[in-house]
Symmetry: C2
Subunit: 192 residues, 2 copies
DNA sequence: TGATTACTGACGAACGTTCGTAAGGGAAGG
DNA sequence: CCTTCCCTTACGAACGTTCGTCAGTAATCA
């Protein structure tokens, strides 16, 4: 499908140059088209952008939501660590996560509220899922915290910090060091 | 000084629209000038941008570096927590921190390496300072970690995550919850 | 007077977008 | 099988606007 090729090229340009910095002619050029031809596939720049955004949001949501379902590994220590590794690898593999990170924090102004709502909705679902997980581990006395909201919040912070390090494109050693450090302190912090 | 007014307006536009999205005419309009008049004060857009960047870098560096000097509070628990609160309040007060965050993670492409080097240099200084602090607390047995690099890395991650929450402009409660959660787990994680 | 600052005017380039049009393919009907 | 019709896709040309930048010229102020 040609539309998918366009979206893929658009994803790349949006995530490296932002909404304003990405040009339709460059995107078209990448798939061997003139910029006018994009209008046979999308209403306008916003339409293309929003379709890319929704694809990225879906990846973000589904990968995180389904992560704990598809593994019967009951140990929170291994699960949570594997979650971080999954985020890291997915981020390096799929450009949609980088796009999602950039756009959710620095959206184009005229789409600020629209994007804000979508991001909020997804983040809340992830938060709820994590809270439920932590509550479960808490009741089984596999972790030791006051309320499940606290480790959930802190863990999401670690994920954010990890993605920030990833978007910064530092060396693999630096990234791994960040991951290991955050994880080491975090796990000590909730495992008594 | 008129140049300072211009830089202040530029700071605002750069940090809310990014480099590409910020327009010289809008910046000039905000200080009651025509865009051509900006060229009496700056060589071009890059020149203006880089001056704003260096101001922001200096704020970032100086506030963090001098934080522990000007307080004789020896307790790491109070010092580190106060550091987070300081970052939060400074971020909300001084737009230069928001600018710094956005630009260091998503620089304009043609200044990628230049900015990368400046950011790296500053981050390394902060990291060194934090490592020294953690090493000191470690030797006094006020905290318990393997190597000072680990809590330093983890703590910088918390600062990043906090700023991310701040740039996202969520509610004060959400921000405080994030801060408290991250801090609670972090402190438990390094204090035996 | 000389220097700094702000203006007008204009420049080429790029932007997103619209129009009319032409090529291609599939469906429908003869 | 051929023709007609329609729908999709792509393109050249052009639109109006904005972009950053430069030259020349007033105005301001030491």
């Amino acid at each position: 499908m040609k539309s998918d090729d366009i979206k893929q090229a658009a994803l790349k340009h949006f995530s490296t140059h932002g909404y304003e910095g990405a040009s339709l002619s460059k995107i078209a050029e990448e798939v061997g088209l003139k910029k006018q031809s994009l209008y046979s596939h999308f209403k306008n720049k916003d339409d293309l952008f929003l379709q890319v955004l929704r694809d990225a949001g879906e990846v973000e949501l589904q990968t995180k939501l389904t992560f704990f379902n598809n593994r019967q590994d009951p140990s929170p220590e291994k699960s949570l660590y594997a979650f971080l590794v999954m985020v890291k690898e997915l981020f390096q593999l799929d450009e949609r996560m980088k796009f999602w990170l950039r756009i959710s924090f620095f959206p184009p102004e005229h789409l600020y509220h629209l994007i804000g709502n979508e991001v909020l909705a997804i983040e809340d679902q992830v938060r709820k899922m994590l809270e439920a997980k932590f509550a479960e581990w808490m009741s089984k006395e596999q972790i030791f915290v006051e309320k499940p909201r606290i480790p959930a919040s802190a863990f999401m912070g670690i994920v954010d910090a990890l993605m920030i390090e990833l978007v910064y494109d530092s060396s693999p050693e630096r990234i791994n060091e960040k991951l290991e450090s955050a994880w080491t302190v975090f796990w000590r912090g909730i495992s008594k």
